[in-house]
Symmetry: C4
Subunit: 274 residues, 4 copies
């Protein structure tokens, strides 16, 4: 394998390292990338701490810049390697790779913009994708497909939630008023969302008896209504599963063979091809 | 298309614009309606803000009145156009259309009643229905059917919740008493609903050890019991799906054949083609 | 019907009125019972209000006693009517009927025991059962069966929750200590239940960074783990449904006929008997 | 049975008592163990109470030591009895048994380490396993299998949650800032987890309008996203159920035949009997 790589051009060698995860070098590259992303995220986290001494801050900035330079080199290498450069630049991961370095250079001109480096977390998706090629990708698609198939149902559900939230929010504003913290309709609608989703911060709570009755009904509604998105996704996932790998029909008795590993028809005993 | 519309009477032209979404004019009308509703809702939201200068308020009132006049014209046009006028006036959307303008006129006599204009949000349902004719309507019915089919189970569930909430509420009132904020049984029942539904505002919380033990059991119950409505809706949606859209109708007795692998009609024995 | 009832003995007439809901008198009796229960519950609710004038309280007491006397008469009538008196006295509803009157008499000797009258809410179950005979009973049994079938899974789940709650509770007590309100292990375990079940009162919250990390993991666990009871009940309800009414096999080709209303075998066209 | 046990060697007798639950002695031993564990846990709970008199504490320590000595004897007995001693020492329950006594001895040297005795709660798992051999073990495995089968989906889901939480957390830090308690990105991420999981402590809450809008979207997301793990586990449990316990094995190639209506083995074509 190693000798094979030596006979390749630099560009080909880089392609194997950067885009493939099944060689030792490619795997090492991915793991190094994973660590760089995590260190970078951690240093952004620490930078934001309020009581941090100047020295530590200086140290964190340096780490940030080293990682930014490494990511910039990688970004340029990726552009150099790929055949369809424009397609890469416009792709989801191409944009993520750019957003992972751009804010650092912007922060020279605009203070505070370095926090946008947090977008590097999206690069994790790339690394996860590479590291666990087969399984995770399949499962991700299966989840995405279930969500995609249920998108119309979910939009209908969200519309209903929107209408409920605006109506109940206005009602609570009229019932409770400013003394309980329901200062305006937008705040009241915010409270309604907090309550319907069963989050319940408790920063604003109803005080009047009528307000509490309406709140109780709202909570029971939210408690019951959570069943709807869950039911949608559950039934979609169940369906995906049951129709997965149907494809084959027995050539002799034409029943549908659901088992992917069946060698013989379960109905008539006809031998099956794979 | 445009020339076609010109040859139609005004009434027919208006019908196409207002009730249909598949012509350019009809679509534009629906989108304009959508924006008017959203602007109206937004201006009601802003009106309710406590620290708003007189000038802005005046400006918002004017927007409100312009929209009200436009909606009134539309309402009259709809009555004029539809054949069965009484049926429209009594229909769900007929009432919504009336409620979308009535509070504005009422607010001249009764201060504060303009907040009822928030009912305009219901008009969104009409617009959504028109804009995405096929799919959303089908999905809405599929959701409504699942909820309708599970209504007896949900009523039984709510009865059980009602009994639990009253018993546990009274128990907590006796255990905690007024020092912890459990001032009366109604307040205690309100707290029980807040806790069982896992909202947990935290405005009232148990302090005594026994009260906390009862609260813990209640929370675990609520956490487990949420499974019931979810399970009901999930299984109902799964069932709906599996019996839906297999497309075939018996050519002899016209019942819908749900089984994809049926060779004969289960009702009349007619042979079926695949 | 009325003439028929006249020819019956008093005992038989009472039986029809009290135990049956399909005659006019029986239905009226059930609805009267429903209202008496609701008025009684409401008056207990109102009695508990802290700032209630003496006059109102006196009035509520009188209502309570009138209802108690009516329920006592009904209880005696029921004992007189039923054949197997001991079986009734020992049955679930027999005990409920007794508990609905006993606390009132006890309150003469022991102050405060009248709050146990709240147990009258259980009588609602009887009324609901009578009023909607067919459907609700069936659905209740279907829900109870699903819960019963999944009891071992739910017990295993609760054991796991118990172990998690005790371990994490102790951990949080050691991490946070008394300054954050985690005064003792029992209180810490209480907080863990509040958090795991996603109730989140906010009366006790972690302050230390490590405590917040553990709390975050606990919340994500609770958020994911709620899937387990829901999944158990969902799959159980789905199974109940799918095995309901399987019973028939085609006498000609022996496939299982799942449709209860099929007249012909969907596979071979053989006529089916019901 | 008793005479049978007498003829056995001490080692064999102990084996029956300690490892089996189907004799009277074995059952009594398990129940005694159950109580010792519960008393031990309770005494650790009580020890942690802040206002406990010295006398009570002394009393609790003594209980703790008696139980520790009993558990130590049992531990030594177990090692003596089992054939493969190393395998037991390294097994899950072997380590639990050691961890149930070690902290007590460590507490002589290191103050406070006795709280690690809480790990005794894990011994409950052993007792439950023994007491309800058949059913609970089966159900535990069925739950564990469902969780195991859905682990890739759950990991993908947690990755997505991680990315959302970091991005939204940083956003909220930038929007709200220190005045609302969003002091740093880590705290902000902690708040995001509290909100996304619908726990909602309310110790930190957004104040700015934009912050509340983002919080509302986050809550609706969390409310909808809870559907995903639930859907995963539901569909997995439903699948496990449907492929379970159909009892037939192919007489020729001995694979398990899951389809109840299969006439031929799907693997080798062997004709099957019903």
């Amino acid at each position: 394998m190693v000798t094979d790589q030596k006979s390749l051009s630099l560009k080909e060698k880089l392609f194997v390292i950067i885009f493939k995860a099944d060689t030792r070098a490619g795997r090492a590259f991915d793991i190094a990338l994973l660590w760089l992303i995590l260190i970078s995220i951690l240093s952004i986290f620490l930078e934001s701490l309020p009581r941090l001494s100047k020295d530590y801050l200086e140290y964190l900035y340096r780490i940030e810049w080293v990682i930014t330079v490494l990511f910039t080199i990688e970004y340029i290498a990726r552009i150099w390697i790929v055949r369809n450069k424009l397609k890469y630049l416009k792709s989801f991961f191409g944009i993520i790779d750019l957003l992972a370095i751009l804010p650092a250079y912007l922060s020279i001109f605009i203070a505070g913009s370095q926090f946008a480096l947090i977008l590097r977390i999206f690069r994790l998706l790339r690394v996860f994708r590479i590291l666990n090629l087969g399984r995770y990708v399949g499962e991700s698609y299966s989840l995405l497909n279930a969500l995609k198939a249920s998108r119309y149902k979910i939009i209908v559900f969200l519309e209903a939630v929107l209408v409920i939230v605006v109506i109940v929010g206005t009602l609570m504003y009229l019932i409770e008023g400013e003394t309980s913290g329901f200062d305006s309709i937008p705040i009241s609608v915010y409270w309604t969302i907090v309550t319907l989703t069963t989050v319940g911060f408790g920063d604003i709570t109803p005080i009047t008896p009528l307000g509490r009755v309406v709140a109780s009904l709202l909570m029971l509604l939210g408690y019951g209504v959570i069943a709807v998105p869950t039911g949608i996704v559950s039934s979609e996932l169940a369906r995906t599963r049951s129709t997965k790998g149907n494809g084959r029909t027995c050539p002799s008795c034409s029943i549908i063979i659901e088992d992917e590993d069946a060698n013989y028809c379960k109905n008539c005993g006809q031998e099956l091809k794979h």
